[in-house]
Symmetry: C2
Subunit: 113 residues, 2 copies
DNA sequence: TATTAATATCGGGAATTACCGATTTGGCAT
DNA sequence: ATGCCAAATCGGTAATTCCCGATATTAATA
């Protein structure tokens, strides 16, 4: 869900809380904070293409230690909540944090919670 | 869960995310932010006894529009996560926000997420 | 075209959550 | 003690989430 508005509404915030109510998904978001320190040097991390910091699903999967299908589903949940964004390049799908949403979420916590 | 440490760990944070992954529970926490503006003047809000801002279960229930048992369970979930604290006086049980935990949660979002 | 590799989607069993009404517990007043 | 009231706990059904293996899809490559 692309966030267009200035602030998150309660509904969007609850979606984010749901996305983060699972330790593995929180870990994934944390890994993506600094891909180079969390993934092996040969991991498929994008540095150009206008999608810096994007990591492909397979690398996330092996680091998270869950099945391929679960990885895909978890990333989809994070995507729906707006916490991450996606870019497909060739046969790879890269995910990275959506810092804009995360910033709005932070502001929501500070003002609405 | 009383928070004694300086910072929340991931496990505690996930408990809080779970507690907030329900619109009604988020609403309850929001109501408790300013009880006097959210509850009727005759509502049972504590101003002394060293528990300012505490609201009794029945008043929370009628504002939230859920059953008595659900109200009790939801408050218990919020209590377990540390987001609220409790005080029993006579036959009433008062709940209020635990601002210390909420502050730690805010800090967690800003640094760990 | 056939094969492989990456990811998404499907189908499902087990576990958890949502939410209720009924019952129990504990304090307070008669 | 008896009854009353606030709140917690119990027991249960329906919905949702967890997490997997199997299958489908799509892109690259031989």
């Amino acid at each position: 869900m692309k966030q267009e508005l200035e602030r998150l509404n309660d509904e969007q915030a609850v979606e984010i809380f749901k996305a983060l109510s699972n330790q593995t998904r929180v870990s994934i978001l944390q890994m993506l904070k600094d891909p180079h320190s969390h993934f092996s040097p040969q991991a498929h991390i994008i540095a150009d293409e206008g999608f810096e910091g994007g990591v492909c699903v397979g690398d996330i999967r092996s680091k998270a230690g869950i099945s391929q299908s679960t990885t895909s589903q978890y990333l989809s949940i994070l995507l729906q909540s707006g916490l991450v964004e996606i870019k497909r390049i060739g046969q790879w799908t890269y995910y990275r944090r959506n810092e804009e949403t995360i910033k709005k979420f932070e502001k929501y916590i500070g003002t609405k919670i």
